[in-house]
Amino acid sequence: MIAEALALSAALFTIGVVGVLTRRNALIIFMCIELMLNAVNLAFVAFSRMHGATGQVFVIFVMTVAAAEAAVGLAIVIAIFRHRQTVDLDGLRILRG
């Protein structure tokens, strides 16, 4: 049972990573990050069946942080859109050294 849960978690995490690496839309990348976080949450829950409730406690923490991060991240995305009328990240190169 745990093997399947971990395999699903790994698959979700990989999808999230690939999405972050390949997509250019800030919102999609943002959703992929959420996907990665939730893949980790799944792994924590799966492990909690073997090692006690610590994993579930972590999941609560991760969800809390993810909520805060979603609020901040979406605010940033909206701010970028207001400035540039686009959320295409390849167009944002002002950090170039």
Binding site: R93, L95, R96, G97
Partner: protein, 771 residues
């Protein structure tokens, strides 16, 4: 009294006498310097006429004293406007006078204040400045009389605190009082006090009066430290200190560039000599582990005569002496040092500081007696300098330049004496020279003061120091004239004035040491020692004749013949005030009777005056051993008849030269400097141009040095290696390239950063998994 760390190991006859107060003699001038320094800081606080920013002129500050402004208010309106007009005229002409720069104090001329206004702090400064000197002289006299009472064969040493301690080096701040340092202390405080008194009259109206006395007092402190220090390093502190004060006082009127340059030249030339002193001290410590006089003299007891190490140390010490005491090849700074105020020339550049080298060699007699080659070097350099400088003195027009070259020449005499091991003769001439040369310089100061005052009144900008502008001053300055003639007769060696006895003793000692001494048996640069000694005697005899001629020439053209100042000035010329004539008279008495300090033996044998004050007897405990060492166990002396013959020759030469000079220069009338179109020719021109030594140094040392500095050190090493390779290369261009490469990674694309992050994370994970 001050606590001292270690007591003398054995009881000393001077224990508990006034000699315990020797530190007070040293510290009194330091106290004076401190008090006058405070006054100088207060009185110069506001910007004054010396401030480079001319808009402050006439708004308080230095020179323009409160009393001056009050007097201006009390005057009627016409008086005030007259004063304003004169101020403006002076401000206007300031540029012209500054550019000539040959006058004695052109900076004073620029002052837009009443020339008769005294310094605001005139009385406190004068009382402190002269008072500490008189007190120090009084105490030194008390110590001297205690020393005469208790005949001390060993030096009286007092250590006050540990100066530095590192490894085997332990140096005490200790004073060393013996007969030699006593003589020097009496000269410095006695002649110094008179010159300080003279300065009150000469400098009282200068805006920087307080600063002047601070420097002068500080100089005396360092000079006393030089002669009282108990080790070479303590002496060296004084040595450097007097150099500093000399620099400050030469460039005292620093608003004129040539004065500031002269100070700088003195300082830089002395550095060359000080390098020799330092290396000599390093060698002493490295080989003998001692730097104090007692330690070094006991360390060299077992060293054989002519040891190369002692010779080297002596030569290096002598290099220091050539710098400080203005001998060939480092004498060129002394004539330029005449840019300072004239009392400074009298105190520092005639009576005391420049004789420090003579003192050092007399003090280090135990070393020089062991090194005949080094001693012969001293003799040869001294004799050459004496002759060389005397000839230059023949063709100078500046009254102070004549005296400056005369000083260089007389110092040469002293070096011949101490080099030949006749330390008493050297110190004797040092003493009499301090009297008559201080007298001559102060007399010249009195003349310049009068000339300057006269030119100031008539508002003409002539050179107040050029003898061509003087003439016939005897009528206007009778006291100065008579006292200066006494000094001239003394330096010319006319009996019974002091210079006759001391110069004669040097000539006789040199002659006596040409046979049967360690010097005569040694050789110098392949020349046998006895030839060097005889040559030195001959050079000194010729130089004595030249001395008499140029001094008589100076006196004649200054005080006699037609007056060449001009009708307006003639009415303004007058004798100096008593503060200036009293030192002249006192020094004249000393210059007349100074010879009695050490009468020659044939004289005391013939006339029943007894051995009242014999310098030879007095200095015996200090230099007796070294003197005897040169003569294989006993001091060399001459046969009675030979000595009488030498005295006769010297007397004839002196009187003959003075008579010849009077006869010769009477018949050559002069015209004022501006109208003088006479061009010297041949050798006379070489003499007038001072043998072109400054030009030769310029061409041989300064220009090549500058070229090497510019091409090799500046363009090659500084700008090429340091700036080019390290600062701009290693420090700037290479980091710039690295940064350029690094910044290419920062392309601003978030996806690239994510890829880098991912690869990094995988690499870390892989490392953790495999490792």
């Amino acid at each position: 009294m001050m606590p001292f760390i270690q007591d003398a190991a054995v009881a000393h006859p001077l224990d508990g006498t006034s000699a315990e107060w020797i530190w007070v003699v040293l510290m009194l001038p330091a106290l004076g310097a401190m008090l006058n320094g405070i006054i100088a800081a207060i009185s110069e606080w506001r910007p004054g006429p010396y401030d480079p920013d001319r808009k402050h002129w006439g708004h308080g500050g230095i020179g323009v004293t409160g009393e001056h402004r009050i007097r201006a208010k009390e005057d009627d309106v016409a008086g005030v406007t007259e004063e304003l007009r004169s101020m403006m005229a002076h401000a206007h002409s300031a540029g012209e006078t500054a550019s000539t720069g040959s006058g004695d104090h052109p900076a004073v001329e620029e002052e837009p204040h009443d020339p008769d206004a005294r310094h605001r702090w005139f009385y406190p400064v004068s009382i402190v400045g002269v008072g500490v000197m008189l007190a120090a002289f009084g105490l030194a006299l008390a110590i001297y009389f205690d020393m005469r009472g208790a005949r001390a064969d060993e030096a009286f040493v007092r250590s006050y605190f540990t100066w530095m301690e590192a490894g085997r080096l332990k140096l005490d701040a200790a004073l060393w009082l013996d007969q030699l340092s006593m003589v020097m202390t009496l000269i410095i405080t006695g002649v110094g006090a008179l010159i300080h008194l003279f300065s009150v009259g000469y400098m009282g109206k200068d805006g920087l009066y307080a600063r002047y006395f601070m420097y002068l007092n500080l100089f005396v402190f360092f000079m006393l430290l030089l002669v009282l220090g108990s080790s070479y390093p303590v002496m060296f502190v004084g040595w450097e200190g007097v150099g500093l004060c000399s620099y400050l006082l030469i460039g005292f009127w620093f608003t004129v560039k040539s004065n500031a340059d002269a100070g700088k030249k003195a300082f830089v030339v002395n550095r060359i000599g000080d390098f020799g002193m330092l290396v000599a001290m390093f060698l002493m410590f490295a080989n003998w582990k001692a730097l104090d006089y007692a330690g070094v003299s006991s360390a060299v007891q077992a060293i054989p005569n002519g040891d190369w190490l002692v010779t080297g140390i002596c030569l290096l010490l002598f290099l220091g002496c050539t710098g400080k005491s203005a001998q060939i090849p480092l004498y060129t700074w002394l004539p330029d040092a005449m840019a300072g105020p004239t009392p400074v020339s009298a105190l520092i550049h005639a009576a005391t500081m420049v004789t420090a080298g003579v003192y050092l060699i007399a003090r280090s007699g135990f070393l020089f007696a062991l090194a005949p080659a080094a001693s012969l070097t001293v003799v040869a350099v001294g004799a050459l300098t004496a002759l060389f400088a005397a000839t230059i003195g023949l063709k100078q027009w500046d009254i102070k330049k004549v005296l400056a070259y005369s000083t260089v020449s007389q110092l040469g005499y002293m070096f011949v004496a101490v080099g030949a091991g006749a330390y008493v003769a050297g110190v004797f001439h040092l003493t009499t020279h301090a009297f008559f040369k201080a007298l001559l310089f102060l007399g010249a100061g009195s003349v310049i003061h009068a000339m300057h005052h006269a030119y100031h009144k008539t508002r003409r900008h002539e050179d107040a120091q050029d003898m061509r502008n003087m003439g016939g001053l005897a009528k206007f300055l009778p006291v100065t004239c008579v006292t200066m003639w006494i000094g001239t007769l003394a330096i010319a060696g006319i009996p019974p004035f002091s210079g006759f006895f001391s110069k004669d003793e040097i000539l006789a000692s040199t002659f006596a040491r040409a046979h049967g001494t360690t010097l005569a048996e040694a050789s110098w640069l392949g020349i046998p020692g006895n030839v060097v000694m005889q040559g030195a005697w001959l050079a000194l005899t010729i130089a004595a004749a030249i001395t008499a001629v140029y001094m008589t020439r100076m006196m004649w053209y200054t005080f006699h013949g037609e007056n060449r100042t001009g009708p307006g000035e003639r009415g303004e010329l007058h004798e100096s005030p008593w503060v200036m004539t009293v030192p002249l008279v006192a020094l004249a008495i000393a210059a007349m009777s100074g010879g009695w300090l050490n009468l020659p033996k044939f004289f005391t044998d013939a006339a029943p005056v007894g051995q009242s004050v014999s310098l030879e007897h007095w200095l015996e405990p200090v230099v007796g051993q070294a003197t005897a060492m040169v003569g294989h166990g006993e001091a060399p002396h001459l046969a009675h008849n030979t000595e009488l013959m030498l005295v006769a020759i010297a007397t004839l030469i002196a009187i003959g030269s003075v008579a010849f000079a009077l006869y010769r220069f009477r018949s050559i009338p002069l015209v004022p400097a501006k109208e003088d179109k006479h061009e010297e020719r041949g050798f006379w021109k070489v003499l007038q141009q001072k043998y072109y030594v400054d030009e030769i140094y310029d061409a041989l040392i300064l220009r090549p040095g500058l070229a090497i500095s510019n091409t090799l050190f500046y363009k090659g090493i500084d700008r090429g290696l340091i700036d080019g390779l390290t600062v701009n290369g290693l420090g700037w261009r290479i980091p710039w390239l690295i940064g350029k490469a690094g910044s290419a990674l920062q392309n601003g694309r978030v996806s690239t950063y994510v890829w880098v992050l991912l690869i990094g994370a995988v690499a870390v994970l892989g490392a953790v998994a495999t490792g």
